[in-house]
């Protein structure tokens, strides 16, 4: 039985928007398949890889574990909303300059998770960074350059 769709109103990357979704559709599906925001990735669809990390009312969530209908009235930030217009966020620039991505598939989730950390902790230790990124699996880099990129962004944002 195909369920009826529900209208959901939400603020995404600062812009109010509304969409129709089935009750069984995850926020990840709504972002990617309904709204066309494909920067958020699906790696496992069970909350274990972190590629679909987004900010929901300022907190990081795996968007595959949130239903679309649950975000009524909420504020969602995705990778597409991290840069300010054409100006990259310091984290995005640092990921580029530190060569902190190889295939780039986990990158969106890592940047959003790192942004959530820096939003609340402007001076994280290496362990703080590793703990904050522990839900975001990256198979290419071994995390070294990822951690260094976050450290670079911390330094730049402190200036």
């Amino acid at each position: 039985v195909i369920a009826a769709t529900t209208r959901t109103r939400v603020t995404i990357n600062g812009e109010p928007c509304e969409f129709l979704c089935e009750p069984r559709q995850s926020l990840l599906e709504c972002l990617r398949d309904i709204l066309g925001l494909t920067g958020t990735k699906e790696g496992c669809n069970d909350g274990n890889c972190g590629a679909c990390t987004v900010l929901l009312d300022g907190r990081i969530v795996n968007s595959c574990l949130v239903l679309g209908v649950e975000v009524e009235g909420a504020r969602v930030v995705t990778i597409e909303g991290v840069a300010e217009g054409v100006t990259l966020h310091p984290l995005q620039r640092a990921f580029l300059e530190q060569a902190a991505l190889q295939c780039g598939f986990c990158t969106a989730g890592l940047i959003v998770a790192a942004k959530a950390l820096l939003d609340v902790e402007p001076h994280p230790s290496e362990t703080d960074i590793r703990r904050a990124l522990a839900n975001n699996l990256c198979r290419c880099t071994g995390y070294d350059k990822v951690v260094r990129a976050v450290q670079q962004a911390v330094r730049e944002m402190a200036q």
């Binding site: 195909i2 089935e22 069984r24 559709q25 990617r32 398949d33 066309g36 925001l37 494909t38 920067g39 958020t40 990735k41 699906e42 790696g43 496992c44 669809n45 069970d46 274990n48 890889c49 590629a51 995705t78 990778i79 597409e80 991290v82 840069a83 990259l88 995005q92 620039r93 990921f95 580029l96 530190q98 060569a99 991505l101 190889q102 295939c103 780039g104 598939f105 986990c106 990158t107 969106a108 940047i111 960074i129 590793r130 703990r131 990124l133 522990a134 839900n135 975001n136 699996l137 990256c138 198979r139 290419c140 880099t141 071994g142 995390y143 070294d144 350059k145 990822v146 951690v147 260094r148």
Partner: protein, 772 residues
């Protein structure tokens, strides 16, 4: 000549798209009337397929098509140049025709208007099976009377076309000298047995494919693959259509490590599209990726090395049994080639067995075959060094292969950097820093990988403003657009940023082999150099005409002849103004492949109560030949090292006695997280490969080879037990320590253990949380 581009660290050309979420990967493909596919998979590891009834599935509203192997064309003609794998096996792994050979084997597929409906319909497809006995380990499968997977499989023996009907698909053999005499001459002989578990490449992006079977019978495919041309050729072959009717548009790829060389979904999506009359997209679930794609083989290795008391190795013998999974192809030949290749050994006997078992059909994984073998070799060498009271690096230096030393297959090594890598390890501050605490240990190991060549093509078009557009056929997994563009830029004397590299579809560039075998920066980079040279030749010919001179030289971005002088950009502008048609073209099939050696130094601390191993410090040293973009060379070394650490400590397929994978989620499979690891130190050694214009060897793979043995050796030096099975989980370590008493295994007893691993405890899945 000093390079101005090579060896620098420009920003990658595709970087901004990847940090802003704009880069389009295979699953991001959207198009009108797109249907969603779902693959029905066998719940049994070995079963005859008696019937498939899709009536109820087709009755579900939204379901548009159901296919099975019966939808493959009947009388398939062999297509020249489309690979060597037997067509029957190739097709049967894509959709099983009469038998399911592993749990997760594809048996049917559905296209529906939403992924949810397709998944729902999959449960309505009624497949009747006759369940057959399973065989799950190489050793079991080799026994007479073991259940046989294939009715027609005969052992390929060296020099003989066919042997007996068997689960052994291939038997390889290398020998020279007299190993018995060599062992008799040895002062110390160490003989051990090793087992390694099935592991997965673990790329974060699941396999996906979108296909349109057009009304003019062209097939268009958008997918994530390491080899667009491979997908094109295999699709054409299994669907029996001319290659020219298939076009593959390679999307950005979210990791591969060898696992995205094979074709799983593309022909299925194409067949569904033909039946439904709409484009069809299939994206695998994570469980499908674990159960239905190709992991790296589990292995059993018996290995024996003898050495004189001065440390010189006198003889070495190895027997390698690699589990191919359901179809032949465990790449045991590469294991046999690499097992002793790093060393100069006078007497050698190696044999390898490629054995089919009821597990997923294995695929390449970063230096395929080599880590399993090196785990054995490098652990035994550590024991020999200890017995002879020699430094383990010193022992390796005494025996290291050099230019001219023969590999197991009799081929002499070219210029290789074994000595340089070992000396860099010995000099490294890490190697000389005291460990300082009990239960800490340091291990080292060396790894050898052959690297590959194969055809690659590029074309370069100069633009009026002095920039250039570079088309290349290699899929970019980890920054190769930039390492290829940098080589063209170096030849053209322009900045890397002035070359715009484009990964082309299969209609737009000449045949280029897959991104694998560490070949892309080597071979496609060479094609870019050749295209740039061809462009310069044509630009010189153009200037010869307009300057009315005989010969022109090009140096550091400037064409000169007598009084005449023009920069690359000025010449481009003149070409545009005069309307000349110039395109540089490079097509190469390089033979001068340079093998790569990598070393690893690891410090660990082992908790003697829980058996948990914490990795404290890691250094990876590798001969890159020439590092085109050092940051991405370091990245390859770090990534390979960490995959090797995961293979060593965490990762395995836990398989039930019925052949079901028990841990097919990323939570339970346990790939390393950011919290499990320290920084990964790197030292790039540069021993130029004489077979490449800039000395490139290729760096993608060798770094995964040494870590399992380096970690095992570190654990030994921390707590005094030799680990001979991978992974070295806390449970395995406490068992070896004897803490669990009755379950302690005698040395070598592992060989006869059944493969089925107990499902790990919940707590063990969190072993990565560091105690530091």
């Amino acid at each position: 000549v000093t390079a101005s581009v090579i060896g620098t660290r420009p920003l990658r050309h595709d970087g901004i798209d990847k940090v802003t979420g704009r880069a389009l990967y295979g699953a991001d493909v959207r198009m009108p009337r797109l249907l969603h596919g779902h693959v029905v998979r066998s719940p049994h590891a070995h079963a005859r397929i008696l019937s498939i009834d899709a009536t109820r599935a087709l009755a579900l509203p939204g379901v548009k098509a159901v296919i099975s192997a019966a939808d493959f064309p009947e009388d398939v003609q062999p297509v020249a140049g489309a690979g060597v794998e037997p067509l029957a096996y190739l097709r049967d792994n894509i959709l099983a025709s009469h038998k399911a050979l592993y749990k997760g084997h594809a048996v049917a597929a559905i296209a529906a208007t939403s992924p949810h409906i397709a998944a729902q319909a999959a449960e309505l497809v009624e497949v009747r099976y006759e369940v057959l006995p399973t065989v799950l380990t190489g050793l079991e499968a080799m026994r007479s009377g073991a259940p046989r997977l294939h009715d027609d499989l005969r052992t390929k023996e060296p020099g003989e076309p066919v042997g007996a009907l068997s689960n052994v698909a291939k038997h390889v053999h290398h020998a020279w000298g007299d190993v018995d005499a060599g062992f008799a001459e040895a002062a110390v002989v160490v003989e051990r047995s090793f087992d390694t578990a099935t592991v997965h490449q673990g790329y974060i992006e699941p396999h996906n494919a979108t296909a349109v079977w057009n009304h003019d019978d062209r097939i268009l495919i958008w997918c994530s693959t390491q080899g667009a041309f491979g997908v094109r050729d295999v699709t054409a072959r299994v669907l029996d259509v001319p290659i020219s009717r298939v076009t593959v548009y390679p999307m950005e790829i979210g990791g591969g490590f060898g696992g995205k060389l094979r074709v799983y979904l593309e022909p299925v999506a194409a067949l569904l599209s033909r039946k439904a009359g709409c484009p069809v997209k299939i994206v695998m679930s994570r469980a499908d990726v674990f159960e239905g794609t190709g992991p790296a083989p589990a292995s059993h290795v018996d290995l024996k090395i003898g050495a004189r008391d001065d440390g010189r190795i006198t003889a070495a013998q190895a027997s390698l049994i690699y589990e191919a999974g359901a179809f032949p192809g465990a790449m045991v030949g590469l294991g046999a080639l690499c097992v002793f290749a790093a060393y100069d050994i006078p007497n050698i006997a190696i044999e390898g067995f490629d054995v089919v078992v009821n597990k997923p059909s294995t695929a390449a994984y970063r230096a395929p075959g080599a880590p399993n073998a090196a785990f054995a070799t490098e652990t035994v060498l550590d024991e020999i060094a200890e017995r002879l009271a020699l430094d383990p690096i010193e022992l390796r230096l005494l025996n290291i292969a050099r230019e001219g030393t023969r590999r197991a297959d009799g081929v002499p090594h070219g210029r290789i950097g074994g000595v340089e890598v070992l000396e860099a390890m010995r000099r490294h501050l890490h190697y000389r820093t005291p460990l300082g605490r009990p239960y800490r240990g340091r291990g080292i190991a060396l790894g050898y990988w052959i690297n590959e060549g194969h055809p690659s093509c590029c074309s370069i078009t100069p633009n009026a403003d002095g920039t250039a557009t570079l088309l290349e056929g290699s899929v970019d997994i980890g920054g190769t657009r930039t390492s290829i563009a940098m080589q063209a830029a170096e030849v053209l004397g322009i900045p890397a940023e002035h070359v715009r590299p484009i990964v082309a579809d299969t209609d737009s560039i000449g045949f280029t082999d897959s991104t694998g075998g560490s070949r892309t920066t080597f071979a496609t980079g060479w094609a870019a150099c050749a295209a740039a040279d061809d462009l310069l030749r044509q630009m010189k010919a153009f200037l010869t005409r307009i300057w009315r001179v005989e010969s022109i030289v090009f140096d550091r971005g400037v064409f000169r002849c007598g009084e005449h002088r023009a920069t690359f950009a000025e010449t481009c502008a003149r070409i545009a103004k005069d309307g000349a048609a110039i395109v540089g073209r490079g097509a190469v099939d390089p033979t001068g492949v340079g093998a790569s050696l990598a070393g690893c130094i690891v410090d660990v601390e082992v908790d003697p109560e829980t058996g948990h191993t914490t990795v404290l410090r890691v250094t990876s040293v590798q001969d890159a030949g020439r590092a085109i973009h050092p940051s991405y060379v370091e990245g390859q070394m770090q990534g390979g090292t960490v995959q090797g650490i995961g293979w060593a400590l965490n990762e395995q397929y836990c398989v039930s006695r019925q052949g079901a994978m028990l841990n097919s989620t990323l939570l339970d499979y346990c790939i390393p997280t950011a919290l499990d690891l320290p920084m990964i130190e790197t030292e790039i050694v540069e021993v130029p490969n004489p077979g490449h214009p800039f000395g490139v060897r290729g760096v993608g793979e060798a770094s995964i080879v040494p870590p399992p043995a380096a970690v095992a050796n570190a654990i030994y030096h921390a707590i005094g037990v030799r680990m001979t099975r991978l992974p070295m989980t806390p449970q395995a370590v406490v068992e070896r320590l004897g803490i669990l008493g009755p379950t302690t295994r005698a040395e070598g007893a592992a060989a006869t253990e059944p493969v089925a691993s107990p499902q790990r405890s919940f707590a063990e899945c969190f072993q990565g949380i560091p105690t530091r």
